[in-house]
Amino acid sequence: MIPAAFEYARASSVEEASNLLSKFGEDAKVLAGGHSLIPLMRLRLAQPSALVDINGLKDLDHIKEDGRKLRVGALTRHVTIQNSSTVKEKLPLLAEIAGEVGDNQVRNMGTMGGVIAHADAAGDYPTLALMLDADIVTNQRTIPANEFFKDLFTTALAPDEIVTEVVFPVATGAHKYVKFRRRLFDWAIVGVAAQKMNGGWRIGLTNVGPTPVRATAVEEALHKGAQPEEAAQHASDELDPAGDLRASPEYKKHLARVLTKRAINQAEGRQ
């Protein structure tokens, strides 16, 4: 289908982008990689009055190591994250996840900031951001990930606020993202990320609720010395997932437990 008409403007700085958003009003949107927004516009599920194209803002396309932090610019494409030697060295789990987002064509366009701002329940980076206590930096402030994702497709961002960077901690320990799906390029039916960090585990779940979930009960059980199999039983403790075309709520809870066990085991090199 052909998207509804909209005004279009290219921004040449973050400040200009923010001013354009204010000028165009609440129905205006940022256009980054376009790989969530344009499909929605083609189905007319989204009809923004105006798009502010930020693809020219090259200073938002960066990966920087900053002490114990890894700063990823909002406009950094999935393909860049996947192949970055800095990411592979400082937060290999992020490189692994980026390589599993969509397909080659999607990864050539889609961006870190786009996934974070779009806040799809099946988005992969939000899980990592939440479980690692990442910070979402905008043109106005810094928002901790655990205050950023509010609901399905709903974040703490104001209408004229632009994500500029996502700041992750460096984590180089055992890690794994297990993404369960029917076809390679699909979104996760359920995904589980496991990262060993500061002597403990961080466990995050994708697509088992309106926002990403940190499985603290699993983390605590592991901390108290439970075996992965036993700890993973807690992955569905407080979950209340919505069913969708591919999976019922019960099946998603089952997957959360099974994949959590797999993620921990595979992170540690067992099958």
Binding site: P3, A5, I38, L51, N104
Partner: protein, 182 residues
């Protein structure tokens, strides 16, 4: 339509200039922002080799190269192609001679109805530029963004393997394909 609404419609349909180089030739057009790149190629430039197979950015039939990177041209607005260099399936054959990837699809029966083929060939061109000697698994993973409803993929994989062989022995044929992310 109320006058205010009509005025807004007018502003939103206002045309923007888009200058591109497509298969080595420069084009300049005035387009509405909502025009998808694939429609621009097909309707304004008459390059109908790039197909549209879905409404959901999943099938890859519309794959082209934008500055050397494989992109689904249905998921980009034409205005975003300003200043970019594009390669479509029409840019692959040179001087009446098929590109080795096209030849390999022919030789290996990499198609049945052919609807998905232009997209597969462009995705394969990108894949082989990144990785000239892919394994079968790497080929399947590299083509994950393209769907074929006819072949079952086996002959498509064979075609890419054959193309990889011919391209590594034959003198280099230049399609401008990027060397990938950094």
């Amino acid at each position: 339509m109320a006058p205010a609404e009509r005025r807004l419609e007018g502003i939103r349909s206002m045309k923007h200039k888009v200058a591109t180089t497509v298969n080595g030739r420069r084009h300049e057009h005035e387009v509405e922002p909502r025009l998808l790149l694939v429609h621009h190629l097909r309707d304004n430039l008459g390059l109908t080799g790039t197909h549209i197979g879905c409404d959901t950015s999943q099938c890859g039939a519309c794959t082209i190269l934008v500055d050397g990177k494989a992109v689904k041209s249905c998921t980009m607005f034409a205005v975003q192609a300003e200043g970019k260099s594009l390669t479509t399936i029409e840019g692959m054959a040179k001087d009446g001679e098929l590109h080795p990837i096209q030849q390999a699809f022919w030789d290996e029966h990499g198609l049945q109805c052919g609807y998905c083929t232009p997209g597969f060939i462009m995705a394969a061109a990108y894949l082989l530029a990144q990785n000239p000697n892919p394994t079968e698994d790497e080929i399947r993973k590299g083509l994950e963004g393209n769907l074929c409803r006819c072949t079952g993929y086996v002959n498509i994989v064979k075609a890419v393997q054959t193309a990889a062989k011919t391209m590594s022995t034959a003198p280099a044929r230049k399609t401008t394909v990027a060397a990938g992310g950094n």
